[in-house]
């Protein structure tokens, strides 16, 4: 039986939670990364490395790495720069993807950096320059505090030259030639604001791809849930039946293309679970209907938020779901969301949760 490891990025460092085999008896280790704010931490199945994208207010941005499951850590920012003559600065590194010896990290100002030596050195891969409106992305007026720049990266499972990137507040893009060219993938998405360019101007909070059928994608947008049946070429809104159209976290079932999870939040400034009631919502029919899942979650005065990278799902036969909150709790379900238990409390504000099964 494999070990299950949760990688938890928080405002004050990275934590690991481990279960030996049956997804119980969880043990917490950390904080790691010297308490730096960790925006996203991932596990590379190929190398066994953990990477953590971090940005210190004092000491700048870097990617931490551990090659021994958190026993020792090192950091590097070598090459994480737009160059001395470029006015853009790397104010933070916000999202990671690792596959087949390549590690990508997304940065603000918007750019994607690549490492081929397990995070020891980095080089600029793409800024998606030339995309409609890209000249505006680097305007400081369009980079408010908290802006993530590139907020998501996802490799294709089979084609090493294909991956997707989200530019925060702009939209989803696909490359099939390893970032030489890009295609906006936002057709059919809703946006309730003026957009100077037809193809972009969408606020993609989180997108996921079904492991059971790669043509099926889901997306939690700033305004509405959306589904794609053609690998992101077109999108259809599936918000009906959810308590709000707003949220960040999302997860796709590993074995059923029609099952998908989301955590709706209050769309106002609070951005907490509506009315203080904790709940995850699940569809088993690709968004036609939704079920509220709240057994074991706090039902009174639970004004907690869950951010875009803060929910994960494992790939067991009966998959487990895990999410972390803005107030430092980690909740888990090992029965596809039907019941939940609290794994940890009193952690720093949680910004990301990923799960790894390690043999």
């Amino acid at each position: 039986m494999s070990r299950t490891v949760l990688l938890i990025g928080t405002r004050k460092g990275c934590f690991l939670m481990e279960s030996e085999d049956d997804r119980s008896g969880w043990k917490l280790r950390g904080p790691f990364c010297e308490g730096w704010p960790v925006y996203h931490a991932v596990y590379s199945h190929g190398s066994g490395a953990i990477y953590a994208a971090a940005a210190s207010e004092w000491l700048g941005s870097a990617v931490w790495r551990s090659l021994d499951l958190g026993e020792t850590w090192a950091l590097s920012s070598e090459g994480l720069s737009y160059g001395e003559e470029d006015p853009r600065k790397v104010s933070k590194v916000s999202t990671l993807a690792a596959k087949d010896g390549r590690v990508l990290v997304g940065a603000e100002a918007p750019g994607i950096f690549e490492s081929r030596d397990e995070g020891a050195t980095w080089s600029l891969l793409s800024t998606l320059s030339g995309q409609p409106g890209s000249e505006m992305w680097d305007d400081p007026a369009n980079q408010p505090p908290g802006h993530l720049g590139i907020s998501a990266l996802m490799f294709d499972d089979e084609d090493p030259d294909r991956f997707w990137a989200v530019v925060q507040g702009v939209g989803l893009f696909e490359t099939t030639d390893y970032a030489k060219t890009w295609t906006p993938r936002n057709r059919g998405l809703r946006a309730d604001w003026p957009r100077p360019h037809e193809e972009v101007g969408f606020c993609v909070h989180k997108f996921v791809r079904s492991p059971a059928d790669g043509s099926r994608m889901y997306q939690q947008n700033h305004v509405g849930m959306h589904r794609s049946d053609d690998t992101g070429e077109t999108w259809t809104e599936i918000t009906g039946g959810l308590p709000t159209e707003f949220g960040f976290a999302a997860a796709a079932h590993p074995h059923d293309r029609d099952t998908f999870y989301v955590i709706p939040l209050d769309p106002g400034h609070g951005r907490n679970m509506p009315d203080g009631h904790g709940a995850v919502w699940r569809t088993r029919d690709a968004g036609a209907t939704w079920q509220r899942l709240d057994k074991g979650l706090p039902q009174e005065n639970a004004y907690v938020g869950v951010l875009r990278e803060a929910m994960a799902i494992d790939s067991r036969d009966v998959p487990g779901l895990y999410f972390g909150t803005s107030t430092g709790q980690v909740f888990a379900s090992i029965d596809e969301g039907d019941t939940w238990t609290e794994l940890a409390n009193y952690l720093p504000s949680i910004w990301s949760v990923e799960v790894a099964q390690i043999d």
């Binding site: 000491l59 700048g60 920012s77 001395e84 600065k89």
Partner: protein, 87 residues
């Protein structure tokens, strides 16, 4: 030789880092370059670019606020401070 003093937050980031170190350099910038050769990556933790210190990193030479260009005398004391900010 100028005498440099660094904040404790740097200690865990570099192997065998010394918070107090003597450097023969003409400016703050040159001193940090010398130390970056000894502890690769140190300069990037303190400087946003070749020309600027990071916003919350303050450097004082003989108790006066300094920049990367500030000259160092033979016995200058240089204090590198992680500013009190954030939470």
């Amino acid at each position: 030789m100028a005498e440099l003093h660094f904040p404790s937050t740097l200690t865990p980031l570099f192997a065998n880092f010394e918070r107090r170190v003597d450097v023969d350099a003409a400016t703050v910038d040159e001193a940090l370059q010398r130390l970056d050769e000894r502890w690769p990556g140190l300069r990037d933790r303190l400087c946003e670019s070749k020309r600027e210190l990071r916003p919350h990193i303050h450097v004082y030479v003989d108790r006066e606020r300094a920049t990367l260009e500030t000259p160092l005398a033979a016995r200058s004391r240089v204090d590198v401070i992680a500013a009190i900010s954030g939470g």
